[in-house]
Every structure is written in C-alpha cells, then in structure tokens.
C-alpha cells in the first residue's frame, strides 16, 4: 500500500480559511462538492418553508441573515425539494441568479442573492414578485433588503411607514414553529421575512461535528499505508471513541459563547470544527510526522497527534500553548477570550497529575499515551500549561464514570463558567422544563428573591427566611439618596408566579399571573440568579439585564394597576438589626387619622 491523498482532508482544510484554500466554505461551491451532501444537516424550518412556497396562496418569502448563516444552503435545499432531486447529491451546475421552477402549487421563483443585483433589476423583480402569480423565495443581505423594500413600497404607493414593521420582523426569533409570526400583509401578496440570524443554531452546529467524524470519505484512508499511525486518523479515532460525549461538550461551549459572547454563524462553527479535526495538517505533513518518529507501531503518530489534538485545536492551542494563527478563526478567538480550562478546585488539582480520570472522567484509550506524557510534564514546576491542556482534554473527551456524576458536575460547571448551562441545554433539548416540582419551586423562589433584592435594594437575607412575596416599591431610579424606608406599591405573593418554557425564544420564562407579565430568563440572567442565590456577591448584573428587570418591574406595575387602594399604606423599613419589616397603616383622609394595622 502507498501513501494516499484523501481528498476529504483537503476539503476539511478548505473549510477553515487559515490556509490559502478557503474557497470551499461558500455555499455556492459546497453545492457542487461531493462531500457536502453527507455533511448537510437540514435546517428545522425547511419543511415549513417548502409548505409555504407550494401553497396555493401566493407568498413572497425573504430569507436574510449574516454571511455564513446558511441562507444559500436553505435556498439550495428548497430548490432540491421542489425539483425532487436527491437531497444528498451534489448539483451538476451552480445555482443561477434566478431559478424558475414549476412547483406542485404553481410556479416558484428562487432569487439566489438579491444583494448581487443592480438596483433597477431588484425593483423589477420585486415588482414581479408581488404582482405576478406564483410564489417567490428571495435571498438577500439585510441592508439591501431594507433599502429595496422601502424603495418598492414608495414606488408602488404603499404610503405606510413599513420600515419599523420590517425591522420588527427582522428582530423576531426564528424557530421551527408556524411562519405566521413572520408575515407582513402590507403588499398585494403576503410577505414573510425570515432572519436566520435569529435562529438558534447551537445544536445544529454541534451535530455537524458528528457528521464530520463519521463521514464515509474517511474510508478512503483504509487504502493508505500510513493509516494505523496517521495523526489525522488518531485524532478522528479519539473523537469516535468518545462518541456522543464530544458533541454534547462542544454544544455546551457554543451555548456559552452565544449567550455570553457572540452568536456564531454556521460557517464559523464549521470552520472551527474542521480546524479542530485536522489542525491544518495535510496528508503529506501527516506522513512526514510519522516518518520522523522514533516510536513504534501506531504510537508513531502520537507526536503528530500532539500537535493537532481536537481538544487543543478547538480551543486555539497547540501543545498547550496558544497557537496564534488559529485566532484568525472568529470562533477560536471568542473561545480564547473566555479562557476555558482554569483550575477547578484543590481536589481536582491533586488528582490531575496522578489519575487519568481526575476523579470522574473515563478517557478513550487512544489518548492514553498522550495523557501519560502530559501528566508527567504537568507535574513539573513549569507544567501549568499542560495542566490546562489536561483539563481541556478531560472536558471534551471525558465520559462521566459511574457514580461520579456529582463530581463531574462540579468540574463541568466550573469549566463552562456557568452554573446553569447544562440544565439550560437540557431544557432546550427537551423543549420544556425538566424539573421536579420541588426543584421548580426552588428555582422560582431563587428568581423571586433575587428580584426582591434588585427591586427594593435590600438584600434577600434582610428579609425573613420564609418570606414569600415580591414587593414593588417606590424606589428612585437615580439612587442618589439612600431610601431606608420605602413605600410598597404592590405586594405580589410568590405563588402568583410560575416558570414555563418559551418554545419560540427557547428560554425559560418567569410568568406572573398566567402570562400577564413575563420575564425571559436567558442564560446569563439565570446564572446570575443561581450565583446570587448561592451567596456569591462578586458578580454584578450587567446593564442589559438590569434594563430587562426594570422593564419587567414596569410591566408588573402596569398590569396590577387597577387593584391598588390609596388608603392602605405599606412601608418597608430596615431596622437597626438590618432585618426588613413591613409596617401597615390605614389612612382615613376624612377624619385625618392614621391607624396602624
């Protein structure tokens, strides 16, 4: 057998743009690639979209989003579905500017990219789209879309100011639910605007990792003499051995990034994953690594593996050190910013250099050699970076050993720097809150106690420990003066609130009185609540969540407005011992009397 160049490796290296061959990353070339079909994970909204486009009621659907969010890929999938082409087969020729298809419900026109058209042609096609029979799917960047639609509205004498309405649709979160929420009926046909930027692509992205690892094109390596020791294959094997664990761990990282840093586009995610798989190594380089090794058998590839191990490349490291070129990948740059892999606790640190499991993790056997080597180095005084590398390895590859669940939970939560992320992820996957009744009650109380603090300015510990009502007080927003005594405008018992899961925004929601007011508990807010409830004081609430809580408070005040009585006066005051007491008075304005109740 000979050294075999596997085209798939070159393809992977072209998916990230670190080298000069990044061209494959664009959807246009993906459509023609023989590898793409097997990698493609259908967008959850495709079926609804095809339904809408084949309906007898004519519609214009506009698909917009960031470059790399998958606009063209969606359009391509729709085209294949409408033309009854096999979903996994590549196209023979690239998509043309405009595709006219005879769909089952009438003609369907797909415009590949409106942003590429001249202004004059955009207007002509928009005019056609709205005036001629048939369904249209138009792909466009957001800027040109806004301009063109506003211009069209003006030209066609729709005198309404549609910009605010369109912006509202663009801001609408996207799920696989019905499309009515995205529709605008200002024009002659129903206009549906789907903004892929608002689609939660975290789990979609993580699934691609498994598809990359299990891709049939790896089979071509079987013919290669280097295969048993090839670093690329060893890297893949470690991922295969760890199985679904890696996908989950990767998904958590993306959860954390999109909640705390920035949402990634699918193209950025794919680039990072592909880079993690190959470490920018080609077949030739892999072979040179093996040739240069003094070891025997499959171990000959481990030195090469050390350079490209997934748990290093994925986080932007190489052999424990930050690998600067990798920061050219946006996703890697964001991951680096969060510095994953810091020490977790004394207990873990003690075990780190002696046990491969760190007390909880079962690592794939294919990583034994590397793990041993790194542990030796980690024990040295200058081994800090290897300790980080070991933690990253344990995080990504470590399967939780039996009965070590709690131990693992501490490690994982601390690694992710978020106490609620894994639970949050579970809820998103299940599409509901998977909490027992008592846990749900406890979470609800934590939320409300934190709200009590934020709204009143007293800390929760100043209230009686079994306190179970939320006070909305007259608190100055300038906070210029301490208000030791506050007037209570409204007292809302905790039992009026309940938790539910919003399927569209995919977040848990705190409801007041069956949804009359609701607060979306996104991950950072939930983390803040959990930490605060656990007694951590250091974390300040970021301004965006402060603003969110302020709006919730205003909403609560508004929906409870009708019930207030002006003659009942309730005051909150912190006593000398710090405990907050409620004082009640009845005011008889006619007699000019104030009665204590």
């Amino acid at each position: 057998m000979d050294i075999n160049q596997n085209g798939f490796i070159a393809y992977l290296n072209s998916l990230h743009n670190l080298g000069a061959s990044g061209a494959n990353a664009l959807a246009e070339s993906q459509a023609l690639s023989p590898y793409f079909g097997e990698l493609y994970e259908p967008f959850p909204l495709i079926n609804r979209l095809v339904e809408a486009l084949t309906d007898v009621v004519p519609r214009v659907v506009v698909l917009t989003g960031h470059a790399g969010d998958g606009k063209s890929t969606v359009a391509l999938d729709v085209l294949k579905k409408l033309q009854n082409l096999p979903p996994n087969a590549p196209l023979n020729e690239p998509l043309s500017e405009r595709e006219d298809i005879d769909g089952p419900g009438g003609p369907v026109t797909i415009v590949k990219d409106m942003s590429e058209l001249s202004a004059e042609r955009r207007q002509r096609w928009l005019d056609q789209a709205f005036s001629e029979p048939g369904n249209w799917l138009i792909v466009s960047n957001t800027g040109p879309l806004l301009h063109s639609l506003a211009d069209y509205a003006k030209q066609a004498n729709y005198d309404q100011d549609i910009e605010s309405a369109i912006l509202k649709l663009l801001d609408q979160s996207l799920s696989d639910g019905p499309l009515d929420r995205h529709s605008l009926s200002v024009f002659d046909k129903e206009l549906i605007i789907l903004n892929l930027t608002r689609l939660d692509n975290v789990s979609l992205g993580a699934k691609i990792l498994t598809k990359l690892v299990e891709h049939s094109a790896w089979g071509k390596c079987d013919e290669c003499s280097a295969e048993p020791a090839c670093p690329l294959q060893l890297n893949r094997k470690a991922l295969q051995d760890a199985g679904p664990v890696v996908e989950e761990r990767v998904r958590w990282i993306y959860q954390r990034l999109s909640a705390y840093e920035q949402r990634l586009t699918l193209r950025q995610i794919v680039a990072q994953l592909a880079f993690g798989l190959t470490g920018n190594m080609s077949c030739d380089e892999a072979y040179q690594q093996i040739e240069g090794s003094v070891l025997e058998g499959p171990d000959r590839g481990t030195e090469g593996l050390e350079r490209i191990l997934f748990s290093e490349g994925f986080f932007g490291y190489r052999g424990g050190k930050p690998w600067l070129p990798a920061e050219g990948l946006h996703a890697v740059m964001l991951v680096r910013r969060a510095t994953f892999g810091a020490p977790v606790g004394v207990d873990f640190e003690r075990r780190l250099s002696s046990e491969s499991s760190m007390g909880w993790a079962a690592l794939p056997t294919s990583l034994d050699w590397l793990g041993n080597k790194w542990r030796q180095r980690a024990a040295e005084s200058a081994g800090i970076r290897w300790r980080f590398a070991l933690r990253r390895m344990a995080y990504l590859f470590g399967e939780v050993e039996q009965d070590k669940g709690q131990f693992a939970a501490v490690f994982l939560d601390s690694f992710l720097q978020s106490p609620s992320l894994r639970e949050f992820d579970n809820w998103q996957k299940a599409g509901k809150l998977t909490l027992s009744r008592s846990d749900a009650n406890r979470l609800r109380s934590s939320c409300l106690r934190v709200l009590l603090e934020v709204f009143s300015g007293f800390t929760a510990s100043q209230f009686h420990s079994r306190h179970d009502a939320l006070y909305l007080t007259l608190r100055r927003s300038d906070l210029a003066v301490v208000q030791p005594t506050q007037l209570v405008i409204e007292t809302l018992p905790f039992r009026y609130f309940d938790l539910s899961f919003d399927l569209i925004r995919r977040v848990p929601v705190l409801n007041f009185d069956r949804g009359r007011a609701e607060l979306a508990l996104n991950l950072p807010l939930l983390d803040y609540i959990r930490r605060r409830d656990a007694g951590e004081l250091g974390n300040a609430l970021s301004p965006i969540h402060q603003a969110q809580l302020d709006w919730f408070r205003a909403k609560l005040l508004r929906v409870t407005e009708t019930r207030r009585r002006e003659d009942e006066i309730e005051l909150l005051r912190a006593g000398i011992d710090g405990e907050v007491h409620l004082h009640r008075f009845l005011l008889d304005q006619k007699k000019g009397k104030l009665e204590q109740v």
């Binding site: 801001d171 301004p543 002006e566 009665e595």
Partner: protein, 515 residues
C-alpha cells in the same frame, strides 16, 4: 429682540439687565441644580396661572396687560416635618425648633396606638419623605427641595433669612418669624424652569408657527412630520398630569394628611403669586424639539420615577440646547449645519479614548468652539462698556460648562482637556427621547435624529458637517473622516436597545410601548 410674553419684563428697563438675560430671556442662573430645573418647570405647569387662577396642569398662558403670574404652593409644613431633623445645625432657629416639636405632637395626635407606636409611625413617615429629597446640599430645611415626583412634592423656593432673624432677640413665635421667610429671591428656583415652561407656552400659543412648518417639511425632521401642535400639547398635558397625580399615589395621600395635620404652620393666609419672566420668540424650533422629546418620554411605559429621572436630564439638555441655539442665532455668521437646525454642533468622544487620540482632540476643540461662541455673543449685544459682563459671563457662559459637567456631558470635572462625551445614561436618555415608544429604527437613523435634535455628531456624515462647523474659522474644508462609533454601539447593546442584524445593519429599539 421679540419677547414672549411681551409684558414679561415690565418695569425693568432693558439696559438694566445684563447681556445674558437680553439674549436668552429671563433667565438662566448658574446655581440652579438639575433637579430644580425640572421641579420649577413642573411647578409652573401644575400651579394655577393667570389672574383667574385657573389653568392648572396646563402648558398655556393667557397674555394680558400685566406680567403673567402663577400661584405656587410653598409646602413649608411638609418640609419642616421631613427635612428639619437633617437640616444644617447653624441655621436652625429656636422658633423652627418649637414649631417642629409642635408639628410632631400634632401628627402623633392623629396616629392611633401607644406612644411607642406613634413615635415609630412618625419616624417612618419622616424617613419615607426624606428619601424623596431632591436637593439638600448644605442648605437649611426650608430651602431643601423634593424630587418632583408628585404635585404635592412641588414647592416654590422659600428662603430663611437667618442672619437677619437672629438679630431679632425678641423673636419668639412662628407668626413673628414669618417676615424672615422670603419668596422673591430666586436663588435656587432661579427661573430656569420657568423659562422652559415659557418656551412651550409660546410654542403652543399658536396653532402653527412658520418655523415649525419649515421643520416638519424638511428632510432632517421627517420623523416629526406627523406632529400637530394642539394634539401634542394635549398629549403632554395629560401625560405630565398623570405622572404628577397618579404615579406615586399613596405618597400624595400621606403628604396631604401631614399638611392637614399641620394646618397651623403656614406662611401666608392665601397663596401668593409669583411672576414669570420672558423668552425670546425666536426659541420656537428648540421648543418644538423639546416638546417632541417630552412627549416620547412621557408616553413610555417606564416607571414614574424613571420618567422623572429622564425628564430631569431632558430639562438640563434643553437648557444647554437653548443656550447654543440662541447664541448661534445671535452670532449670525457661519451657522449652517446640514441636517440640524441649530447652527452649531457638539462632537463627542468615547469617554475612555486615549489622550492624544484624534477623536478626543476633536471633542475637545468642539467644546472650545462652543464656549467661544457663548462668550462672544455676550459681547455682541452689548455695545457700551458696562461692568455687567461679570454677571453675564456667569449666567450666560459659565453656566454651559457647569450644567454640561453635572450631566456628565463634559468631562473631566476639573483639570485640562475638557471635552464632550456621552455616557450610557445619556445614551439611554437619547433613545427614550428620540425614538417613539415601541418604535424600531436603524442605527443610522438614530444617529441622524441625535444630530437633528442636539447637533451631536455620531455618524460619518454628521461628523463631517460638525467638523466643517468647528473648523470654519481656520478655513480648512478637506477632511477624510471615519467615525468610530463602536463604543456607542456597545453601550447601546449593553442597555438592551441595540439589536445587531446582518451586514452592519443594526436596529435601535425603544422598548417602552404599551403593546
């Protein structure tokens, strides 16, 4: 210069007033604090006006032959009860002490329960009201002011002439002490809020103004095209009234309970009128902008105290804007700024910009240019060599710097390198004031409005115009500018107002709608 009301300065000869008053109206005064601008504005709004003593909660003013008047409350009893315990020691007169103790007895008599209960109730009430203090500083209790969150917390300025009172050894009781309370000083409620009121009263005294028409039909003020003055006035009146009357409900009830209990502590048998000054009639454009912003803030679904906070910022910004608009008018030369009717501009920098960075230098020179203009125009209206510049400089020139620093619009508070900046609170204010509740606009549109209303240059185009204005003296007209506004975007995002969409399109959203 035409004045509104024309009778506003009756009895005072023009040449006796200082140039600052002659330019800007009667009057802005340097020592007025931000809370007191709003408090005074709302006081005039809420008080009965005119000889008939009607027109409460109204933005209209009847013009007669005499100088216009309004009839504000003084709330002396409430202030005594709430502020006396924390008042400056040196100016507590024995008569006040006596009245205060009497007041406590009177209140306790109206509270049920044991004597501990009564003490407790009084302490609670005092601490509650003391929490609504607006300005205390180092003043004596009667000159404190409340946060203007309710009409019962609105009070005119009353001063206690302490040094005169202590000279009177025979002063024993409250009635005799009344003569040492003065209402005509205007040291704190120094007519700045009145002036803001008069701007609106003038704006709304006609159904239309040519200048408002011109603005509504110009592209720069497209977003104001739908405003009709009558409707605008009615809307603002209703909203302001509801803030003042309903928002802090039980506080008002408690205040009137206290005032009833302390009926004997009064300064005058019937309410005493206060006179109003005047504004230049040319102030219509800035008054129109002020009114539209007032309307947006009032209509939002924010909590009442948050609205009060924003209104306070608005009042101060309006003072700064009025100064600049009018100065630019008087200045005359070179006052075209494309996209903004004011004829001046403020270039703001990131507060954290490194010293020596270009944008910081621009912001600094922009501030200098504004100050130069304010300084210059005072000398333009006064041809004689009088000694009045001292006063005029204080209240027509230094005042800008003082208020701007109090707002945080200009930093640092002391030292060199003063420049315009925008901190997150001001950005939040701009969103609330310039975007209708519930409305979503593109970021570029937001920048356009910020420039159209305040001359604050954020976007590329606006920055170019602003730089042309700032540099016109040196005559340089060739610039290649690219505004770096990432700090603005970040701050807006932090506040939850900005949604980033794709390819550099971002939405600014004012979430305060009723939907």
């Amino acid at each position: 210069m035409d004045r509104f009301p024309p009778t506003g300065d009756q009895g005072i000869a023009a040449e006796q007033t200082n140039p600052a008053i002659r330019i800007y109206g009667r009057r802005f005064y340097k020592d007025q604090t931000p809370v007191e601008y709003l408090a005074e504005f709302l006081l005039v709004f809420a008080s009965p006006k005119g000889d008939q003593q009607n027109g409460t909660n109204s933005l209209r003013l009847e013009i007669g032959d005499t100088p216009p008047r309004y009839w504000p409350d003084d709330r002396v009893a409430l202030k005594l009860f709430a502020f006396y315990p924390s008042s400056k020691l040196e100016t507590r007169h024995p008569v006040h002490q006596k009245a205060y103790l009497q007041a406590l007895t009177d209140i306790k008599a109206r509270v049920s329960g044991t004597s501990e209960d009564k003490d407790e109730a009084v302490r609670l009430l005092q601490s509650l009201f003391a929490g609504f203090v607006g300005v205390a500083k180092n003043r004596t209790w009667v000159t404190h002011s409340f946060l203007p969150a309710s009409s019962v917390l609105l009070a005119r300025e009353v001063d206690w002439l302490h040094s005169r009172a202590v000279k009177n050894a025979n002063l024993q009781d409250w009635d005799a002490a009344k003569q040492y309370f003065a209402t005509d000083r205007h040291n704190f409620m120094a007519r700045g809020g009145e002036l803001l009121f008069l701007q609106l009263a003038h704006l709304f005294s006609y159904e239309d103004h040519a200048s408002v028409d011109a603005m509504r039909s110009s592209a720069s003020y497209e977003h104001l095209a739908q405003y009709k003055l009558v409707k605008l006035r009615e809307d603002i009146e209703i909203e302001l009234q509801s803030i003042l009357e309903d928002a802090v409900g039980p506080i008002s009830e408690l205040a009137s309970f206290i005032e009833k209990a302390l009926g004997s502590i009064r300064l005058y048998e019937s309410s005493k009128p206060a006179s109003l000054g005047w504004v230049p009639t040319a102030s219509v454009p800035e008054a129109f902008l002020f009114a539209s912003e007032l309307n947006n803030i009032c209509r939002s679904t924010l909590g009442a105290l948050e609205k009060i906070d924003l209104l306070q910022t608005l009042s101060c910004m309006q003072v700064l804007r009025s100064l600049c608009f009018q100065a630019s008018r008087v200045d005359g030369s070179n006052n075209s700024t494309d996209g903004f009717g004011g004829g001046y501009s403020w270039i703001v920098a990131d507060a954290n910009a490194q010293s020596g960075s270009p944008v910081r230098k621009l912001a600094q020179s922009s501030f200098e240019r504004i100050e130069e203009m304010l300084f210059r125009v005072l000398r333009q209206v006064s041809d004689e060599k009088t000694q009045k510049f001292n006063e005029a400089d204080k209240h027509g020139f230094q005042i800008f710097r003082k208020i701007a620093k109090e707002l945080g619009l200009v930093i640092p508070r002391t030292g060199r390198g003063q420049r315009f900046v925008l901190h997150p609170h001001l950005l939040r204010f701009l969103v609330a004031a310039l975007i209708e509740p519930g409305e979503r606009v593109r970021l570029t549109e937001f920048y356009r409005r910020v420039f159209a209303h305040y001359g604050i240059a954020l976007g590329d185009q606006q920055l170019l115009v602003a730089m042309l204005w700032s540099s016109s003296e040196t005559g340089t007209k060739d610039y290649a500018v690219a505004a770096d506004t990432s700090w603005v975007e970040e701050a807006l995002q932090q506040g939850g107002f900005l949604v980033e969409l794709s390819d550099a399109v971002s939405i600014v959203h004012n979430p305060g709608s009723k939907e």
